[in-house]
């Protein structure tokens, strides 16, 4: 086991370029639990919390850039986020607990890639992009294309998420929706989470994005349902069809928190609620 504290961001790129297997340590709220329960043994740790380039929220032209190690508390309290992307501000109020919000980071929630990660469905409907860098490369990947399987993603071993990029106007003229269902308000791991934004003109859904958490190997968009309801008014939507497409797009499981039938029905009801709003 090695512990490395890079002196700056270039040194960080250099370090991960020369390592085979490493874990980046920012807030530590996931990795310390995984070390404690033995999921991760003798890890090589690279500490990144002190690197200022990775943290903070800024506006750039028509985008909002959120540094990967920005804490959820800073995101919730950000005036920029509250002004331009109220969905994030409102949805994260019950994220974990006030104590975890101070430590946990947005990049960590994404990179850890839990099927139940709270922030991912929200960022999916906002069509967020990730800026992913290594020593020699620099690319932007849409979050919808980032995950490839359970806790698997498109990043190479020497890459890391630097920033989350969201368009400033993403919520303009859109209605936003987020509902997380857990056993309690605080410190709940979602049984089901549904996020959505839609633009309705003269009762017709002109554009819609829907995403779900805790219902697949990773949180994902519901492209088939989106496509079916787009261009329709509420009366034109056949909800049996919605259910049919939904069944093709979600694969709920039964586990200690809930069972698959419950998850499916709650998901259906939440989507109906949003469409009816």
């Amino acid at each position: 086991m090695k512990f490395i504290k890079p002196k700056d961001i270039n040194n960080l790129y250099e370090t991960i370029d020369n390592m085979d297997q490493q874990y980046l340590l920012a807030g530590g709220t996931d990795i310390n639990v995984q070390i404690k329960n033995g999921t991760i043994r003798d890890p090589n740790i690279i500490y990144i919390s002190h690197l200022k380039e990775l943290s903070g929220i800024e506006e750039e032209n028509n985008s909002i850039l959120i540094g990967a190690t920005t804490s959820f508390k800073d995101i919730i309290e950000s005036r920029i986020i509250k002004k331009y992307i109220p969905l994030i501000h409102n949805s994260l109020q019950n994220f974990a607990s006030p104590l975890i919000q101070t430590s946990a980071t947005i990049g960590g929630n994404i990179a850890n890639g839990s099927p139940t990660a709270d922030v991912i469905p929200i960022l999916l409907v906002l069509d967020a992009k990730l800026k992913i860098c290594s020593k020699a490369t620099n690319r932007e990947v849409f979050l919808k294309d980032f995950f490839t399987g359970y806790k698997k993603n498109v990043m190479k071993n020497n890459e890391l998420i630097i920033k989350i990029i969201i368009s400033k106007n993403v919520e303009h003229k859109y209605q936003a929706f987020y509902q997380k269902v857990g056993s309690r308000n605080s410190l709940a791991i979602a049984k089901v989470a549904v996020a959505g934004i839609k633009k309705v003109v003269k009762e017709k859904i002109m554009d819609i994005k829907l995403a779900v958490g805790s219902l697949n190997e990773y949180p994902r968009r519901l492209f088939k349902v989106e496509k079916y309801v787009t261009g329709k008014t509420l009366t034109e939507i056949d909800f049996n069809k919605v259910d049919e497409f939904l069944q093709q797009e979600i694969t709920p499981i039964s586990d200690l928190r809930s069972d698959k039938e419950y998850r499916y029905h709650v998901c259906v009801n939440l989507i109906r609620t949003f469409l009816n709003e």
Binding site: L25, N32, V33, P98, L99, T102
Partner: protein
């Protein structure tokens, strides 16, 4: 690795494993036994401390997270005027039973009263939502924080 920080208003330096849990640093290296380990996974709040003035669970932080920061524990905060008032209020409403969760509730309450302090039950519930008590229930705990807010106004 040498790690320096401010602990209860004093400059300190320790030579330790940077991955050692901050909770264990406080309890073992500094004998500050007020900060408790409950779940050890950040969910119960028994290990709550202030890191740069903000409440965090020290069981899922590492020694390295303290570097260059200011840490305040129940031992330091309870010596302040506000800390003493909060303890008196918990006492007055009989909010503490076994006491194991109390240091965590105390630190979260201290932070709420210091940064907001409005006598608003919903706000208080939210501020204390990262702390769990398995004995008394929460009603008396909330009452004691309400009382502290009232006394300060």
């Amino acid at each position: 690795m040498k790690i320096s920080f401010i602990l209860n208003k004093e400059n300190v330096t320790i030579d330790t494993d940077p991955m050692k849990r901050l909770l264990d640093v406080l309890r073992e290296d500094f004998n500050l036994l007020g900060t408790k380990e409950g779940c050890g996974e950040g969910e119960c709040g028994a290990c709550t401390i202030l890191l740069d003035g903000k409440p965090v669970t020290s069981c899922i932080l590492n020694a390295i997270h303290a570097e260059g920061k200011e840490i305040e524990t129940v031992e330091g905060l309870s010596q302040t005027k506000l800390g003493k008032l909060i303890i008196d209020c918990f006492d007055e409403t009989n909010a503490v039973q076994c006491g194991f969760c109390f240091p965590g509730f105390f630190v979260s309450s201290y932070h709420y009263i210091k940064t907001d302090g409005e006598k608003d039950l919903n706000k208080i519930k939210k501020a204390l939502s990262g702390n769990i008590c398995r004995c008394t229930g929460y009603k008396k705990i909330f009452e004691s924080v309400m009382l502290a807010c009232e006394k300060l106004n």
